[in-house]
C-alpha cells in the first residue's frame, strides 16, 4: 500500500495523460458511435436513422464487404512480410558476425522515409508505360510475359499496394525481434546443441518460446497497424481499379469526405474499431493458449 502522499503523486502524474487519452481517443470513438445512428452531410440537420446505417452496411453494401475482404488480404500480406520476414532476417542477423549495425540500419531505412515518397517510388517501380523497374527486370531475366501494369491489373493490385506497406515496416520488426533473440541465454542454446538438437529444434523449443511475449506484442502491433492501413493504397490507387484495392479505411474516408455521408462513415469507423479489438482479443487468446499448452 502506497502512503497517501505517493498515491497523490501517482494520481497527479496519471490523470493528465489519461485525460488526454480520453479527449483524443475515447471521445472521438464515442462521437463516431453517436453519429453512426444518424444521417448527416455536415451542413444540414442531423437525421436520426436508428440502426439503418448498420443494416445497410451488413446487408446492402457490396463495396463494404469487398473492402473488408481486401483488408484481410492486405493484413495477410503485411503480416507475412513484417513478421515472417522480420523473424527470418532477425534470426539471420544473430548469426552475422560483422556489419550487423549496417544491415539493421539498411532494413530500418524505409520506416523513416515519408509515405508519399514511398508511394511515388512504388508507382514508378510498378509502372508499365513508361516501363518501370519491376517490368524492366522481368524483361531482363526473360520473364517478359509476366510484365504487366501491376497497379491497373485487378488481380495484382491488392498485393501491389500491400507489399510497400509490408516492406516499409519490416525493419522495425526486425529490430524488435532481434533485440528479443539476442536476450535468449546462450548457455541454453549451447546445452541443447551439445545434446544433439538441430537448428530448427533449437528455434522451436528454445528461441521462440523465449521470445513469445515480444512476439505477441509484435503480432498485435503489426495486425492493428495493417488493419488501419490507409496512406499507401490511397496514394497509389485510391482504392482502384474499381474496388480492387479498396480497404475499409479508404472506403470510410471517401464516404466521409467525398460523399459527405458522415453518419454512414461513422458506422464503418465503429466497425473498424470493433474489428481491431476483436483481432487483438483473438491474438491474445490464441497465443496465450498455445503458451499454456
Amino acid at each position: 500500500m502506497l502512503p497517501s502522499r505517493s498515491r497523490l503523486s501517482v494520481l497527479v502524474f496519471l490523470i493528465p495523460p489519461l485525460a488526454l487519452y480520453c479527449i483524443a481517443v475515447l471521445f472521438p470513438i464515442l462521437q463516431s458511435l453517436f453519429l453512426s445512428f444518424f444521417e448527416w452531410d455536415g451542413i444540414s440537420d442531423l437525421q436520426f436513422v436508428g440502426v439503418e446505417n448498420y443494416v445497410h452496411m451488413f446487408t446492402g453494401d457490396t463495396v463494404f464487404w469487398r473492402a473488408f475482404f481486401n483488408a484481410l488480404g492486405y493484413l495477410f500480406i503485411c503480416l507475412v512480410l513484417q513478421l515472417g520476414g522480420g523473424l527470418v532476417v532477425a534470426s539471420l542477423l544473430t548469426s552475422l558476425r560483422r556489419g550487423r549495425e549496417f544491415v539493421k540500419t539498411l532494413y530500418l531505412l524505409p520506416a523513416v522515409i515519408s509515405t508519399v515518397a514511398i508511394a511515388f517510388l512504388f508507382a514508378r517501380i510498378y509502372s508499365s508505360d513508361p516501363v518501370g523497374l519491376l517490368n524492366q527486370v522481368l524483361q531482363w531475366v526473360g520473364l517478359g510475359d509476366l510484365a504487366r501494369p501491376w497497379l491497373s491489373d485487378v488481380n495484382t493490385v491488392l498485393a501491389a499496394v500491400s507489399i510497400p506497406e509490408g516492406w516499409r515496416f519490416t525493419g522495425l520488426y526486425v529490430l524488435i525481434i532481434y533485440a528479443a533473440l539476442i536476450a535468449v541465454p546462450a548457455e541454453l542454446e549451447e546445452a541443447a546443441r551439445l545434446d544433439g538438437a538441430n537448428a530448427w529444434r533449437i528455434f522451436t523449443k528454445i528461441r521462440f518460446p523465449y521470445i513469445r511475449p515480444v512476439w505477441i506484442t509484435t503480432v498485435i502491433m503489426a495486425t492493428t497497424y495493417a488493419l488501419r492501413g490507409f496512406d499507401i493504397p490511397y496514394l497509389l490507387t485510391n482504392g482502384g481499379p474499381g474496388q480492387s484495392s479498396e480497404l475499409l479505411t479508404t472506403y470510410m474516408y471517401k464516404t466521409a469526405f467525398t460523399s459527405t455521408n458522415y453518419g454512414y462513415a461513422s458506422s464503418i469507423s465503429v466497425f473498424i474499431v470493433v474489428e481491431c479489438l476483436v483481432a487483438v482479443g483473438l491474438i491474445f487468446v490464441l497465443l496465450r493458449r498455445k503458451a499454456d499448452a
Binding site: 471521445f27 464515442l30 462521437q31 453517436f34 453519429l35 444518424f38 448527416w40 452531410d41 455536415g42 451542413i43 444540414s44 440537420d45 442531423l46 463495396v63 508507382a123 510498378y126 509502372s127 508499365s128 508505360d129 513508361p130 504487366r148 501494369p149 497497379l151 491497373s152 485487378v154 497509389l236 490507387t237 485510391n238 482504392g239 482502384g240 481499379p241 474499381g242 474496388q243 471517401k254 464516404t255 469526405f257 467525398t258 460523399s259 459527405t260 455521408n261 458522415y262
Partner: protein
C-alpha cells in the same frame, strides 16, 4: 454502471451540441450592396487552382494594387490544386461553418445546399449590381448555374476542350481524323496495329475518363440527359445509356488507351503525347502553353493539331457544341460579405479580364482580346479564335453533375468497363442501382 451510463449520456449530449454547431451561419444572400464604411482588413480566398497559374498571378497583382489604395487590405490565397483534396477541405470547413470570405466550388449538390441555406451571395444579383453581368460570356455563366438556373459562382476562366492529335502518327497508321465518335474504336485498332498508343489518358485522376462517358450521350440525347440521369429520371439502361456503355466497351476492346492507364498520372499522360508516343490526347485550352508554343518538343511541334468533339450519326447537338467549361467558380460567403468585400470584388472583377487575357488565357468575359504569346505556334490563335464559334449547348462534365457517391462509383466502374473487367450490362445495372439509391435524395 449508473455512472458509466451517465458519462455516455453526457458525452452524447456534448457530441450532439458540437454536431449541431455546424448548420446555419448564413448571412443575407440577396443583399449584394451592404451599407457601411469600407474598413480594410485581410480577406481570404480558399481556392483550387495552380499556384503559378494565370488566375492566381493576376489576382495577386490586382490585390496588391487595391492594397495600395486601401492600406491594411490584403488577399490571402489558400490554394489546394488537387481537386479531391480541395473538395474535402472545403466541405469540412463548410461543415464547421469556417469558410472564408471567398471560396471555390463547382455547381455540385453540396454547393446547392449551401446556396439554399443562404450561405452564398447571389452571384447574378452581385454581378448585375456591379454592372458587370453583361460582360460575361453566357456560356461561362451557364456552366456555373445550378439546375434551377440560379447563379452563385463567378467564373474566372473559360476553356475549350479538344482532341489534340499527332498528324504524322495518324498518317503512319493510315487513318483519318474521326468524323464520328463511332469511328474512334476502328481508328484505335489501326493505330495499335501500327505499334502506336492511340490515346494518352490520365486515368489516375479519373475525371479524364469520365469525360468519355459524357460524350456519347451528349451527342445522341443532348445536355438534358445527365440532368435527368443524376436524379434517377433517366436510366443508363435506356437506348442512350446502352449506346454509351457499348461505345466505351469498344474503346476498351480496341485498346484505345495506354496499357495501365488507370495508374497513369497527368504529366505522364501528357508526356506520352508530347513525346510522340501517343497519337491523341483529350485536354483543354489550359494546356495551350505546353501544346501550342515553342515549349512543345520540336520533334512533334509541326505535327500537332486538334479537332473538336466528333458528332454521331443522329447527333442532336451541333459540331460546335462540346465541353467548354469556365472552370471551378468562386463563391462569396454571405456571412462575411461586407462593404470591403464588395468594393474589392468590384475593383478585381473590373480589372481582371484585361489582365488575365494579357497572360494568353481566354477570359470568361467577351469584352477583351486574348494576347497571343510571342512563342506561340499558329495553333494557339486557332484555338483562341475557336471560342468565338461556340454553340449554345454545353457538354457538362459528369463529375460536376452527379451526386458524389454515384460519381465515385461511376469513376470506379468506368475503369473496370474500359479495362474489360466487367461487361456493359453489369456496368449499367450497377450504375443504375447506385444512382437510384443516391441521386434522388441528393437533388430533392
Amino acid at each position: 454502471m449508473k455512472k458509466l451510463l451517465g458519462t455516455i449520456a453526457a458525452t452524447a449530449a456534448v457530441a450532439l451540441a458540437l454536431a449541431g454547431c455546424s448548420g446555419g451561419g448564413g448571412g443575407n444572400a440577396g443583399n449584394v450592396n451592404p451599407s457601411g464604411e469600407i474598413k480594410p482588413r485581410q480577406i481570404s480566398w480558399l481556392l483550387s487552382r495552380p499556384a503559378d497559374g494565370g488566375v492566381i498571378t493576376t489576382m495577386k497583382q490586382i490585390a496588391a494594387d487595391y492594397a495600395k489604395k486601401h492600406p491594411g487590405f490584403s488577399l490571402n490565397l489558400i490554394t489546394t490544386p488537387d481537386r479531391p483534396s480541395y473538395i474535402q477541405k472545403y466541405e469540412t470547413l463548410a461543415a464547421a461553418n469556417k469558410l472564408p470570405e471567398l471560396f471555390d466550388t463547382d455547381a455540385t449538390p453540396f454547393a446547392a445546399k449551401l446556396a439554399k441555406q443562404g450561405r452564398m451571395i447571389d452571384a447574378e444579383k452581385l454581378l448585375k449590381s456591379l454592372g458587370l453581368y453583361d460582360d460575361y460570356r453566357p456560356a461561362a455563366l451557364n456552366y456555373q448555374r445550378f439546375d434551377d438556373g440560379s447563379l452563385y459562382m463567378v467564373p474566372f476562366e473559360f476553356q475549350l476542350e479538344f482532341f489534340w492529335y499527332n498528324k504524322a502518327l495518324l498518317e503512319k497508321a493510315g487513318v483519318a481524323v474521326p468524323t464520328s465518335l463511332d469511328d474512334i474504336p476502328a481508328m484505335c485498332t489501326a493505330l495499335r496495329k501500327a505499334g502506336i498508343t492511340p490515346i494518352a489518358l490520365d486515368g489516375q485522376d479519373q475525371w479524364p475518363l469520365e469525360r468519355y462517358m459524357a460524350y456519347h450521350p451528349f451527342r445522341t440525347a443532348g445536355p438534358d440527359y445527365i440532368t435527368k440521369l443524376k436524379k434517377g429520371d433517366a436510366k443508363l439502361s435506356d437506348s442512350t445509356g446502352t449506346a454509351a456503355a457499348d461505345w466505351l466497351n469498344q474503346l476498351g476492346q480496341a485498346k484505345c488507351f495506354e496499357d495501365g492507364f488507370s495508374s497513369t498520372g497527368y504529366s505522364d499522360a501528357q508526356g506520352l503525347f508530347t513525346s510522340g508516343k501517343a497519337a491523341m490526347y483529350n485536354i483543354g485550352t489550359w494546356e495551350l502553353g505546353s501544346l501550342a508554343t515553342d515549349k512543345l518538343d520540336p520533334s512533334v511541334r509541326s505535327d500537332v493539331d486538334y479537332f473538336t468533339l466528333p458528332t454521331t450519326k443522329d447527333s442532336v447537338t451541333a459540331a460546335n457544341e462540346y465541353v467548354s467549361p469556365s472552370g471551378i467558380g468562386m463563391a462569396v460567403n454571405a456571412k462575411t460579405f461586407d462593404p470591403l468585400v464588395r468594393d474589392f470584388l468590384k475593383y478585381a472583377l473590373t480589372e481582371y479580364p484585361k489582365r488575365y487575357a494579357a497572360t494568353g488565357a481566354l477570359s470568361p468575359t467577351s469584352n477583351v482580346e486574348t494576347t497571343i504569346p510571342d512563342n506561340a505556334t499558329p495553333l494557339y490563335k486557332k484555338a483562341v479564335d475557336q471560342a468565338n464559334d461556340l454553340g449554345d449547348k454545353i457538354a457538362m462534365p459528369w463529375d460536376t453533375q452527379l451526386d458524389p457517391t454515384s460519381n465515385t462509383r461511376l469513376q470506379q466502374e468506368l475503369t473496370l468497363l474500359v479495362q474489360g473487367n466487367i461487361k456493359p450490362e453489369e456496368f449499367i445495372s450497377t450504375m443504375d442501382q447506385t444512382i437510384q439509391q443516391n441521386g434522388p435524395k441528393a437533388f430533392k
